[in-house]
Structure formats: C-alpha cells, structure tokens
C-alpha cells in the first residue's frame, strides 16, 4: 500500500488515539472495499467519493546526466468528511497535495490544501487529470502523463511514459491490511520512465529515470491497534520489482505483505512472508527513524540491504512522515522509495 497519510489534518489528537492519522477510525456510512470487485479502467483511475480516503501517489528515482541521484514525490490525497460528492462550497471532500524533491544533501517539500466541489482540486479518469491548485498529473491517456508541482523553494515538470502494464495488488486489487480483515483497493503502475526538469534554488536540473505510481482507496485501512507502517517499492536491475510493507503494532508482531512483480508485469502476492528489520536509526529532532534496513523475501531469494539516499527526508507536514529515495544492495541491486509513518 502506498501512502497512506492522512488526512485528518487538523486532528492530531485523534491521530494519536486511533492508529496513524486517524486511519484506524470507524467508517460510518462510507463504502467498504469488496473482495472480488474487478477493477475497471479508466473509470477506477478517477475518484471514489463514497470511500473515506484515497490517494494517487508518484515516487521517482531520477538522475542527472552526470549521475547525481534525485528522488521526487507527488501525492494527492482525498479525505471525505461525509460519503457524498456535491458541487459548491459545502462539499465534504477535502484534498491535500504533498510534493518533495530529495537529493543526497537536501530535502525540499511543500503541501497544498483544497476543498472539493469548486474545481480547486479533483481527479477525472479520462482523459486523466488529477490536480490541486497548479499541481497536475494529466495526459491524453494513462500511459502518457505530465506531472508538475511548485512550492516557494522548488518546482518540477516531468513526463511519464508507461513501459508495462498496470499491476493489481493482493487478490486482483483487493489488498488486505490486517489479520482482522481491514482492506483497500490498490493497484500500481511501476513501469513508468520519467524525464523532465527540477527547478531548485541552485538552478534548473535536467533529470531522467523511473517512476512508480500507486492508487489506493479505502474507508478504514488500518486496524486500531496498528500504529504505523514501513513501505518499500524497489526496482531491481534485473527488471523485477518488489512492493512490500509491514504494519507495526504496539504489542504484537504486526502484519506484512509483498507483491513480487516480474519484468513482464506478472504479480505474485505473499502474505506474512515479507521481512524488514531496522539496522540503523537516526535522530531527527528527537524522533528515532530507521534509515538502513535488512529486507528479505525468501520465496524469491531476496536478501538485500536498503539504505536511504538522504537520512533527513522528513516531511514535517500534517501529518509528519518520512519519505525518500533508497539504494539497494545484496542479493539484488537497484533503487527505490521508502515510506515510514507513525514514528514518534
């Protein structure tokens, strides 16, 4: 699962009481994910306002012509205060955008907030357009997109070209998140190539590389005992990809899941087989965050070490979390993105 933030921007107390950012809260009146519901495109690229939370998430591992690595994040969250979608100022749909650019030394990030119903933010499935203010992810179809965001310190514009199919996690896109059955609908496009320009305080930088897109929606993706998660999206030089997460619990072992994605897009799900173990932590303003991990998926012979490109990739937004590019070494070599939430 991907990002996962959420939203209850202004409810830090609730966030502490009920899982990360209120994601463990009850879901009165909202639709619930259904096992066996087939995803259909392009309609499912759009918003699902009957569900409480939803996100469209792009992370990219990029580099300049001389090989300097950069990471890029573009995220649009939707959080519904009520399960309806009306036009006008009184729409209960709230939107939140996060964008970041990370290098080995710097980490720039910013956010946007908007209400639905007035056209300030939204997602249309075809032709695809997801936007908040001047930030956009849009294109004639889902294989050919332009991605842009801007903030006081930086902006970027990147084109994305799909080189493979969409992949559906879990049971054909039904992704279970706990032993009690919390779940979401979840698919990805991990095969984008990316090319574009980052406008940074030191000047414009031409970059190219690969990008990973996630789209997930749900009404209560966490059990109320789960306190946070560690989520990995890794691309290996072999062309295979691995998406794995573990949901941490205060008193117990937690729950894990992994998708092994072959170079042709064939996906193999693994429940409670993925292992991730912190090897080293850093102190970020009093919060201990792991930045080097041992990651294993024995069934696919994966035993790698995952290390942050920049240990300080902390998004001090609402809510705060760690999100940044990583390098992979060991049984497989590659790169990817790491997201960690719920560290306090």
């Amino acid at each position: 699962m991907n990002a996962r933030i959420l939203l209850l921007l202004c409810l830090p107390a609730a966030a502490q009481a009920q899982g990360f950012a209120g994601l463990g809260g009850a879901a009165e009146g909202f639709a619930l994910p259904e096992r066996g519901r087939a995803l259909s495109f392009p309609a499912d690229h759009g918003a699902h306002p009957a569900f409480r939370i939803e996100w469209w998430y792009v992370t990219a591992n990029l580099e300049t012509p001389d090989g300097t690595p950069y990471g890029l994040q573009w995220t649009l969250f939707r959080s519904a205060l009520a399960p309806r979608d009306t036009r006008g100022w009184d729409s209960p749909q709230l939107w939140l955008g996060h964008a970041a650019v990370t290098s080995a030394e710097t980490h720039h990030y910013t956010q946007r907030l908007a209400r639905g119903g007035i056209g300030q933010a939204g997602v249309e499935p075809a032709p695809f357009e997801a936007w908040i203010d001047d930030w956009r992810m849009a294109g004639p179809d889902f294989d050919d997109l332009t991605l842009s965001a801007s903030g006081p310190e930086f902006s970027y514009e990147v084109t994305l070209d799909a080189q493979g199919p969409l992949v559906r996690h879990g049971e054909a896109g039904f992704s279970v998140k706990s032993a009690e059955g919390q779940a979401s609908h979840y698919y990805s496009q991990p095969f984008f190539t990316a090319r574009g320009t980052l406008h940074l305080p030191e000047g414009p930088v031409e970059v190219s590389g690969s990008a990973w897109f996630d789209h997930e929606w749900s009404s209560q993706p966490l059990s109320d005992r789960q306190t946070g998660w560690d989520w990995f999206s890794l691309s290996f030089e072999s062309g295979a990809k691995l998406m794995g997460f573990q949901l941490r619990e205060a008193e117990a072992a937690g729950y894990s899941y992994a998708s092994w994605i072959a170079p042709d897009g064939a996906l193999t799900p693994y429940v409670e087989a993925f292992e991730a173990e912190p090897l080293e932590t850093v102190d970020l303003d009093g919060i201990e965050v792991p930045v080097r991990w041992a990651v294993r998926l024995p069934q696919e012979g994966v035993a790698v070490e995952v290390e942050a490109l920049n240990a300080g990739a902390w998004n001090a937004l609402s809510p705060p979390y760690w999100e940044g590019p990583v390098t992979v070494s060991g049984s497989h070599v590659g790169e990817g993105y790491l997201e960690m939430t719920g560290y306090e």
Partner: protein, 793 residues
C-alpha cells in the same frame, strides 16, 4: 532597631490620620484616573487588533475587484489553478453582527483565531460552526450552525466557514482574496489570470487604528492631566508630613540612627503606602473604565465604524503599569523631601525659618521654570507641527501657568496689602499671603482643572455650533432611500422620478487621491447643491463647472493632508486629471473625500450603480412617499428621513464628548478635594497665628468667616487667571490639535454664560472645602487657643 525606628516614623500617621488619608486618596485618585483611561485605550486597541487579525488586513496583501463588487468563485479557482496562493473572504451583516466567512484550508497563517476548539470536520460539514465572543453569540439569530465561544474573535463579529457565511448572507461571490506571503515559483501575472482584479499591499497598522489614534491621544492627554493633578495633591501631603516629622527625625538622628537607614526606612514606608494607594487606584480605574467604556464604544462605532467590546478584560500589563505609576508618582512627589532630609545638617531640625528660606529659593526656581516653559510653548505655537507638537504645546503651557500661579497670586496679594486700610484688613492680606505656599499646590490643581474645563467646553460648544449648521447644509434631502441590489436601485429610481422634485443618487468608492486614501462621491447636477452647500474656498460658480466636468470638489481634510489648493490638478483615474474647483468643510468625517459629477463618476467606475438616493420633496409628502416605497417592498429600515439622520449624527457627537465631559467633572472634583485637604492640614498649623488675633478681641465666628472669605478670594483669583488660560487651551485644541488629528479647523465660539457658571461652581467648591475647617475653627475651645500661649516656644 528597624522596628523601633519604623514605629516612631509610623506614629506620625496615627497623630495625623487626615494627612494619611490625603496621601492615599490623592495617589489613588491619580492612579485611578490614569489607569482608567489606559484601560479604555487598551481595550479599544485590542478590539481593533482582533478585527484586523480576523481579515488579516495588517499582514496580508489583498486582491479585490478593481471596480468594486464581488469576485466570482470561478475567478478564485482560476487564480488557485494558476498557482496563486490566495484565500477567499466574505463578510456581511447578520442582524447586529459582522459575519465573516473564511476558508480554513487555504487561509494564510492564522488569520482567524479559530484554532482552539476547532474541529475541522464540524466546521466544514452539516450546519457548520460559528465562532465568536459569548456576547456576540447571544445576538445570533436562529441558525443551524453550532455556536462556539472564542474570546479571541473581534467584538460583535462572528467567524464561520465560507460556505456557511454565503448561505446565511444568501450570496455567491467573494469580497476579497488574502494573498499568502509565501508564493510558489513561476506563477503568471495577476492581470493574465484574472483581469479586473487589483492587488493591494498590506496596510501598515490597521486602518481603524490609524483613524482612531487621535481619539485615544485625546483620552491619554486627559488621563495625564488627571494624574498631574493627583500628584500635586500627593506632593503637598508628603511635603507637609516630612516637614512635621523633622523634630522626630532630629531626635532619632541624635539617638544614633544612621542617616542611610533612616532614609531607607522612609523609602520603604513610602513604597508601601504607594502600593496600597496604587492598588486602590487600579480598582478605581477599573470601575471608571467599566462605567465609561460603553460610551466610548458607542462613539468609536458611530464615528469610525470601529467595533469595540463593551466589557473590560483584566490585563496584567495594565494593572502592573498602574502600580508602577503609583510608585513612580510617589517617588516624584517624595523625592525632593527625602533629598532635603538626606542632605540636611544633623541638628538643622525643624526650624521654620530654614523651611521658609528654602521656599524663597524655590520660588525663584519656579519662576525661572515657568518662564522657560512659556518660551517653549510660544515656540511650539509658532513653529510646531503635528499632533505631538500640539499636545506638547498644551502640556508646556499648562505647567508653565501652574508654576507661575503662586508668584502671580503673591504679587496680587502684595499689591492688595499695600492698598489695605485698617489693621484688620492689613492682617487679612498679610495672613493670606503667608498661607499661599501651603495652598499653592491645591490652587494649581484648581487652575488646571478649570482651564481644562473651559478649554474643552469651548471646543465642544464650538464643535456643536459648527456641526449643527453644517448638518443643515449637508442633509438637505428630506428622505433617504437605500436599495439592496442594482436591479432594485434602477427600479426605485425610475419609480420615484415622476413623484418627487428631484432624485439625487449617492454612491461612494474607496480610492486613492494624491497619495491619500479617500472616498470618491458623485453629485447629480441639481439646484439642491448650490442652494445648500457652503465652501471654505471655491472658484466662481463651482457647481456649474463641476457639472461641465471642468473639475472636482474636495473636502478640507484631503486639501490639508495632500497640500491641495484651488486649481491644483487631481488625478482621478488613469487618464483623467482635473483641477480642484472648491474645498468644503466636512466635519466628523475622518477620511478625505472628492466629489465628481455623476457622468464622470459613471465613467471612472462603470461597475458601480448608485444604490442610495436622496429625495427632494415637500416635507408634508414625506409620509406619503415613505408609504409608497414600503408598498413596493422596501423594508422600513431602508428609508431614513432627514430629521432622524440629523438626530443620529448629533447623537454620535454628544457621545464623543460625554466621555470628555465626565473626565472634566472628575478633575474639578479632585481639585476641590485638594483645596479641602490643604485647608484641613493647614488649620492645625495655623492656630499659633490665629490665637493672638483672637486674644486681641476678634471672635471665633468672625475668624471663621474671614477664613472662608480667604478661601473664596483665592479661588476667585485663580478662576480669573484660569479664564485666559482656558481660552488659550481651547484655541490650541481647535486650531492645532484638531487640524492635526482630524484634518479640519473649527471656528472658535466663546460661551461667557458657561464660563460664569463654571466660575461660580469653582467658588462654591472652594467655599464648601473651606466650610469644614472654618466650622472647626469656630468651635475651637478657648482653652486650646489659650494653650498656644502656654506652650509657645
């Protein structure tokens, strides 16, 4: 030893409880008046700040429709989608309240103090939430939004989500967009995205704050005057107490108490007294402020449209500064006396002659200081400019007059003594002169209080006289009509045209003229204007030339602030520059104003349709036309007749001056109290001087009558001196302070009858103050008078 010394020192107060009372009452009054005024000012300023914070006027640039009116929602979204970080605001009236709608998701910084207790979900969904002070929420009409008490919200204001505000106001558009100081890179220019909108830089200090500054400065000046009067009293009481304690001090020094310890203990004693009196004073100030605040709030609302809370908040800064002031005032009053004790030779004791010699030296210094201050005041009157200089002129003049008073009185009494025939008369004048030093502080207080009273009542009277005349010119139309929207405005104008003598459209746009904020008004060519308006200065036939678009009219405020005269060019629009045709008096209006003819106004502001109208008609037909308008669906509140408007305008000014009048009466009362206390303390000291006169055959009744006559005589002389001083004060207020504060100069009128009554009142106050000591003297047992001879030194 400390204990013994302290007991010896304090025993004085047990023997002179009246002195203790004078000291504490004087200090408490001084602190109370000053801190009461400060409390009012602080409350008003807090209200302005809260109001400004609600809409972020002071901190954020704003985008508004260039032609006035609303910004459509689509325009706002277009700006956001172009990267502009702007946040919408709407405001309107909800019954007696100002309703402000914000978007918490995009609002920059903390524009709205709704952070505490805010639940974003409840704020944005269902009926929504309305934040406001408890008093404001009580006035809320029946709505489905949930009220939430938030003391940080500006008074008479409620804040809610923009969706709720638009629903309650039954509107669709946005009034303004606040611009976040942090903007993303690479956004297009405003004109490209949203033509027709204009960007305004954040205003330094809230607009209301600037407009009301002069009002608060006035109050502060009154507060300072009151404090000065109070300190005079304290100075007198402390000086007397120290003087009387000299024998005690001499004895203690002779017994071996070190000087340092003695002075230290006396300082501690004074500090303790100051703290007690200061606490009383702060309580008194609190009472005073809570009595006056509703009037001040009404004045500020009527005059400037500024909302001020009717209730007081207890601010630590306020009562701490009150106590600090009491300490500083006591230090000021006791400093000289303590210094004398510290430097006095060990046994130079309580010799009265030494004290008298010190007095004589003091008189020289006093005269020199009065002369210097007079020179300063003259300089300020000739060359000073601005509000601060005006108040400095006031202060220097008043203090100089106060310092000169004993010298002038002394000279007058000396002259009278030379003219006196007969032993009794000579004794009377000589004795009066001898009493002068003891009474002079109280008389100074009386002088200041009377002068302030004459000055302020002259200003108020002049203001009222000018203003009623001005209202008669200005409010010529018999009926005023206000419509709700453009369509209704057109329909009503068409309906009225055949039914009344003339329909005068009224509209006003906020703009900037010659670098000054100003409002632009329109005038339709109509005989009403030339028949009624008087100009301070104008060209020939100004109204005809105005109608021919040959120029514009400006008010006195704008002319003074921008330094404009007749014929000077005014830039009214991008390609319109016209000369000034006339300057008119515009009393009561703090902002600059320019009037152009109707056709030109329509060209400069095409988006604005006048929604208010003045109607000229036979006064007898007012009820008939009113009924016809109400029949067409206009609410009664939208139709105002001239008489009611005049009444309201006058009320605003009555309230403004009700506050100053109340302070005036208080100062005069304090001065009366000072005389009473001085006479009472002197009474005991004077027995040795009165006893020989009694022994020579003058009855006690006669002596008492002479004592009364003396007090009234001194008060009368002081009152005579206060008259020219008060008139000078009025001149400074009208011609210097008023021009600097409000931008208009008022003609000065004199009110001899009022001054006569005031003089009489002062004499009565003095007589009343002298009555008790005189009665005590009349009832002094002969044995006591005889005792004077027995214990003579």
């Amino acid at each position: 030893m400390n204990r013994a010394v302290l007991l010896a020192l304090l025993s004085h107060w047990r023997r002179a409880p009246l002195q203790l009372f004078t000291l504490i009452a004087g200090l408490a009054l001084a602190t109370g008046l000053w801190s009461g005024v400060q409390a009012i000012n602080a409350e008003a300023r807090a209200s302005y700040d809260a109001a400004a914070a609600t809409l972020g006027e002071g901190r954020f640039a704003r985008i508004e429709a260039a032609a006035g009116g609303e910004i459509p929602r689509a325009r706002y979204v277009a700006l956001r989608r172009a990267g502009w970080q702007v946040s919408p605001v709407v405001q309107g009236r909800l019954g007696p309240l100002r309703l402000v709608g914000i978007d918490p998701l995009t609002a920059p910084g903390e524009i709205a103090p709704v952070s505490e207790g805010a639940d974003i979900s409840a704020f944005l969904t269902g009926g929504g939430q309305v934040f406001g002070r408890a008093e404001a929420l009580e006035m809320l009409p029946e709505i489905d939004a949930v009220p939430v008490v938030a003391p940080e919200v500006a008074p008479n204001t409620v804040i809610t989500d923009i969706s709720v505000a638009l629903r309650l106001l039954d509107r669709e558009g946005i009034d303004a967009l606040l611009v976040d100081p942090e903007q993303p890179q690479g956004r297009p220019a405003l004109e490209e995205v949203a033509p027709g909108l204009s960007l305004r830089a954040p205003q330094a200090g809230s607009e209301v704050g600037r407009l009301t500054d002069s009002f608060h400065l006035n109050l502060t000046a009154f507060g300072l005057l009151c404090f000065a009067v109070g300190i005079f009293i304290v100075h007198g009481a402390v000086g007397l107490a120290f003087e009387q304690r000299r024998p005690v001090l001499r004895t203690m020094r002779a017994l071996g108490v070190p000087l340092g310890r003695l002075v230290g203990l006396m300082l501690a004693e004074m500090a303790a007294l100051a703290l007690i009196a200061g606490s009383l004073g702060v309580g008194l100030g609190w009472l005073l402020a809570s009595q006056l605040l509703p009037d001040v709030a009404a004045t500020l609302r009527g005059l400037y449209g500024a909302e001020v809370a009717g209730g007081l908040t207890l601010r630590p800064s306020w009562w701490l500064s009150g106590l600090g002031l009491a300490l500083a005032g006591t230090g000021l009053a006791a400093g000289a006396a303590l210094w004398r004790i510290a430097t006095m030779p060990l046994l130079a004791a309580g010799g009265r002659r030494a004290w008298a010699m010190a007095e004589a030296r003091g008189a020289l210094w006093q005269g020199a200081a009065a002369l210097a201050l007079f020179a300063l005041a003259t300089g300020l009157a000739l060359w000073g400019e601005g509000l601060v200089a005006g108040f400095a002129l006031l202060g220097a003049g008043l203090v100089a007059a106060a310092l000169a008073l004993p010298l002038v009185l002394g000279a007058v009494l000396a002259g009278a003594a030379r003219l006196a025939r007969g032993a009794l008369a000579q004794w009377f004048w000589a004795d009066t002169r001898q009493q002068l030093p003891g009474l002079s502080l109280a008389l100074m207080a009386l002088l200041l209080a009377m002068a302030a009273n004459i000055g302020v009542s002259t200003m108020v009277g002049s203001f009222r006289q000018t203003f009623t005349g001005f209202l008669d010119q200005r409010l010529a139309p018999e009926l005023y009509v206000e419509t709700a929207d453009d369509a209704e405005a057109r329909a009503i104008a068409a309906f009225l045209a055949p039914r009344v003598r003339s329909v005068l459209p009224l509209a006003s746009v906020e703009t900037e003229i010659a670098g000054q904020p100003a409002e632009m008004n329109l005038a339709r060519p109509d005989p009403t204007y030339p028949e009624n308006w008087r100009f301070l200065q104008s060209v020939e036939r100004p109204w005809q030339r105005l109608a021919a678009r040959e120029g514009a009219l400006i008010n006195e405020q704008l002319a003074r602030r921008a330094g404009l005269g007749l014929g000077d060019p005014l830039r009214l629009g991008p390609d319109t520059t016209l000369p000034v045709l006339g300057i008119y008096g515009d009393y009561g209006n703090p902002v600059g104003q320019v009037i152009v003819t109707e056709a030109l106004f329509a060209e400069l502001h095409p988006g604005i349709v006048p929604r208010r109208f003045g109607l000229r008609l036979d006064p007898d037909r007012v009820p008939e036309i009113r009924a016809a308008l109400e029949g067409r669906g206009l609410p009664p509140g939208a139709i105002t007749d001239q008489a009611a408007l005049k009444r309201f305008s006058l009320q605003v000014f009555e309230r403004t001056f009700a506050v100053t009048a109340a302070l005036n009466v208080l100062t005069l009362a304090v001065a009366g109290f000072a005389i009473l206390m001085s006479l009472l303390t002197l009474a005991a000291l004077r027995l040795p001087q009165l006893a020989p006169v009694w022994a020579l055959g003058l009855t006690r009744r006669r002596l008492a009558a002479l004592e009364m006559a003396r007090a009234v005589l001194l008060a009368a002389l002081t009152a005579l001196l206060a008259l020219p001083l008060g008139l000078a004060l009025a001149w400074v207020l009208l011609s210097v302070v008023n021009v600097a504060a409000f931008g208009w100069r008022l003609p000065m009128f004199v009110f001899p009858a009022a001054y006569g009554w005031l003089g009489l009142f002062a004499l009565l106050a003095a007589a009343a103050a002298a009555l008790w000591p005189a009665i005590r003297l009349a009832r002094t047992p002969p044995a006591v008078l005889l005792g004077v001879f027995a214990s003579e030194r």
